[in-house]
Amino acid sequence: MKRFFKIVVFVCMFLYSGHSFAQGSRDKVAELRVSFISKKLEMTNSESEKFWPVYNEYNDKIKAIKRNLRQSYKKGVDNLSDGEAEELYQLDIKSKKAEAEIHEQYAEKIKAIIGAKKTVKLRVAEEEFKIEIIKNIKDKSD
């Protein structure tokens, strides 16, 4: 039993050390954004019930597109062949188009739930949150 526990502790430490800290921070920022937006929007219970499942789905899709693109760029761009560069370029364009599609599709759904006024407020809140984050980073680097 003691040996088993040692193995478990070892596995656990391995998982912990191997864990991507960037992922943890990203989740933390996503949680902060959700909190920021929910404060700004002041939705009714009924709106909130319908809005968050749609908004979470929208975010999951946008996040997946960006992650996919980021992983493709991770390999590095200095030693790319012409073919690989063309492929990456096309992926970049496609990703931007996909983002625009998803944005349009979900903006319509969100508008149907919370109305045009709050949809505009949502966009403003998202921008304000970005500014908050940028300020935070700038403050740290100064």
Partner: protein
Amino acid sequence: MKTKNKIGKVLIFIGTIFLFNTEIKSQANFDSLKIKLPKHYFNTVINLDSYRKAKQDFTDTTDFLAKRLKSYGIKQFSASFYTPLFTDITEGKGKGITKSTHVLLTGNFLLLQPKFSGISQHTLLKTGIGIRCIFNSGKKGVWFVDASPFITKDITYVSKGYFRAASTIVYSHNPNEKFNWRIGITKSFMWGNKNYWPFLGIRIGKLDKVNLSIQFPRSINFNIPVGPKLTMSLYTKPQGGMYNFSNRDSLYYISNDATFSYTRYELNTGFRADVRVSNRFNFYVATGFCSKNNVTFYSETANKSRPRLPYKKYFFSENLGPTLFFNAGLVFKFGKSRSFYNEKNMYDVMDLNNTIGVGDNNQSAGNPQIPITPKVKKNLNLSSIQDLIDYNEF
């Protein structure tokens, strides 16, 4: 007239094609990227749990079995898991309501060593695979159904195992995110016998904030999230079960039964700390007092006439005084899952899944999947937020 009808039909046909094409077109670029989105809301979670209860002497000097057993303590280890098998999400057309159905496979493996110093050491096994289904109506209600069949066996000596099954059906209602009530029925062995209890629950306070949760017959919890990494809880809950026990030591002497049923329950009241180390790993420690320490031996032969009812005829039963207990566990999360920030019904789905722990051991992995909103913005680095900000915004 005929021509008008024809034109109408053609227009409807073209309109349908146009609508269909628009639907396809609206996802065209996203689909062409072949990105795999997480299917399930649940991660696969593995929970390793260790539980000890301090040894106590039997003080009853009149019962010869008590004198023979001398003292009693508990050492228990369990490994349990749940993993999503199937998730169905339905969007109510035009209503903006998202219903979801979740089917999970559960499993548990428990090794229990009741420490009687007067007889040989027994190791009891309880293991089973179960299934649970959770339906989120998308409005205010969540349905929960769980079936947990298991086998108990004394693995120290050759003995035949017993097949038993625990089950629960609960309806959970969320009038708002600060209040919840639950009603249902549960068949459980955690109170030291085969019991059918009504399930009655109430929660005051948000699940990701300070809350008081009373879930009869399972637990009473007062949860205080200290930060995104730490949740403190004051709680009281029963811990126990009904296990197959080899009669090698001839504790049951009336007939030649090879095994009998050893049952136990204790009411644990204490303090628990859940630490979220990372997205993939949590751990918890808990300690406090055990009260109502009961140990009872039932003969299977004597209770043969009550296959579906609580056993009545016991040949040994003792209640010991309060003692200390210690509980610690590791929780591992695997795989990617869909986001459900601020979805009160999904928070409730997660809470139901953890309140009614895997198997029938009344152990909870905490609520590792419910996000606790961070209060302080710190340790934000540029690489961590690429998803949120474009470089040209600087």
